[in-house]
Point group: C2
Chain length 352, copies 2
């Protein structure tokens, strides 16, 4: 059984040397052909490509990266893949990186700081060209690693704090304030809050802080609140809404602010099912502007977190700095979250 162009999945993996022998040129020339680098005559290029194809050679990037100390990976570290927000960020990142040599590699932390630390460590051990990481809150060790890595770091989704290097996102405090103002302007008074358990989600916490801050300025307080843990789920939103409305019957709430669109949508469906007049009897709002809200019977008020744009901007920062390594860095891009009133939040009452 000859080794030549046979289909025998030979034991020893193929190397440049095999291609070089098959095509009668040096390994270096093969390397040049396969990377389109340097001048190679058309004839040898042809020979080499044919040999590589015939053998089924796939270059070994491990060796290549070690030799050239260029690793075209961008580490993307996010809390979760299953809540519709990060896939969109990924879309933005890919849109930009697809036009470069860079390739995203994602790691998921499940909102756990220690997990984030180990994921980061794992990622850095592959010596990526850059890091895109969600949030500004990290363990000390994680911050130290990123500070010392000597590569561009972009913290995304949040700009309320001090980034290690660059940051792209919205101010969640501002988002919370903005929503509170709109709710107050619309004349709502007894406001309930439904959200995730906060220590796990700094951005939700910041929104909450901004939200209560503005309420306080208007002499208002959160009338009731309910927190859950776990992913954002429609059913959870229903349950929580039911529970909250139930226990506030003698002094009914007139607005519910949800920390994400998914539970907000659950709440909306609950209200509609139970003949509650939205937004007359009760107003509702979520957060994120996720696409599927468009299909709901009524469009939930929400605030867009500019997810695709965040991904794009972050990737652009990395790409720019990879291309020009001694560019400054420390860029901070704050996007403005746009309030969408939808059909569940009345417009401003007092135009005065």
């Amino acid at each position: 059984m000859s080794q030549g162009s046979g289909k025998t999945p030979s034991k020893r993996p193929l190397t440049l040397r095999d291609v070089s022998e098959a095509s009668g040129v040096s390994e270096m020339t093969v390397s040049r052909v396969l990377r389109n680098r340097g001048d190679v005559s058309e004839s040898t290029r042809g020979k080499v490509l044919e040999a590589a194809r015939a053998l089924g050679y796939v270059p070994n990037k491990i060796a290549g990266a070690l030799a050239s100390s260029r690793v075209n990976l961008v580490a993307v570290i996010i809390p979760s893949m299953s809540n519709m927000v990060f896939p969109e960020v990924m879309t933005g990142i890919s849109q930009i990186l697809d036009d470069t040599e860079l390739q995203p590699v994602v790691g998921v932390t499940n909102y756990k700081p220690e997990r984030e630390e180990t994921v980061l460590y794992q990622m850095l051990s592959w010596r990526p060209s850059g890091v895109i990481i969600a949030g500004l809150e990290h363990t000390e060790a994680a911050k130290a690693m990123m500070g010392a890595a000597g590569i561009p770091i972009v913290e995304i989704m949040d700009t309320d704090g001090e980034p290690i290097d660059s940051a792209v996102g919205i101010s969640h405090r501002r988002a919370g304030r903005k929503m509170a103002q709109a709710i107050i302007d619309a004349g709502y008074k007894r406001i309930g809050f439904l959200g995730t358990k906060m220590p796990l989600d700094h951005r939700a916490r910041k929104r909450f802080e901004g939200f209560t801050e503005i309420l306080a300025k208007a002499g208002l307080e959160i009338a009731d609140s309910e927190f859950y843990s776990g992913g954002s789920a429609l059913a959870k939103g229903r349950e929580m809404t039911e529970a909250m409305l139930q226990r506030n019957q003698e002094e009914p709430l007139d607005f519910l602010y949800y920390s994400n669109d998914m539970i907000g949508a659950g709440g909306l469906l609950y209200c509609l099912d139970n003949g509650i007049d939205v937004p007359g009897e009760i107003g509702l709002a979520g957060f994120n502007g996720i696409e599927f809200l468009d299909g709901l019977p009524r469009k939930l008020a929400t605030m867009d977190a500019c997810r695709v744009e965040v991904g794009r901007a972050a990737a652009e920062i990395i790409a720019k700095r990879v291309e020009n390594p001694d560019a400054p860095g420390g860029e901070i891009i704050t996007l403005e979250p746009s309030l969408e009133f939808g059909d569940t939040l009345k417009r401003k009452k007092k135009p005065l």
Copy 2:
């Protein structure tokens, strides 16, 4: 400005040698400590760990992988991240791999065969320990690469066809047949189909084929169908449903079969909004069993694709074969999709 434990992000990246010098032992010993391999005395272990920590050393896996020819990565190649099905598969994969040295790396193909081919090529060039790839349909070149890679390959989500190596999934043809049978048993007659444009999605196509096959046996045909491209969206489901019901007014449909739950949910919401009696006047069913159906006003009939389980089983195959490289391979695991009637599909009529 001393280099020692200073915070200066030194130009030259840290290597084992730096740690070795800082702790006064050989590089080899440092390597042993950092990998917990071989015997090292407690005292030197302590010194080394301290030095490594103080310097902020992160091992270089590129070099390590090259030297040991062990790369603990598992390539996971999937069509999309944004439709709720693959994140769940990822969950299953992580559940298993988290207990091993292996780490998943995902690549997204957007349902494009050529893109799959390049993503696969990129992945293989990192010499992963295994590949988990969605579907059984690939370009010839992709199949060749996988066949020659000399690593375990697990094709997931589908078992209607010949896998390259191992496969884990459900039979989509069978899923389609099963759903058709349930619909026929319930007494529905004029059935509409709403789905994705098929060439892009082989599994949806196979379900459709199984579906029509059983209809044919019962002397039935699809009465109308509508296809769209793009992600699965609630709003799309609404639109399509409206259009389809509209144009079949003189001879109304009594069942709509959707190729995924998201458009199915859109259709359900449309029907409810328009006071259509579900499942009396019209029955509905989707596919996938995604979690958020639980929060809808009425539960959509669906068929579970066992996504988490598929991920787990696939990861287990890889893990097993990495641990024991000369295990046989070629395993095929066919899971049974379970039909969930929900509230939108009547139970069997004729108990005879």
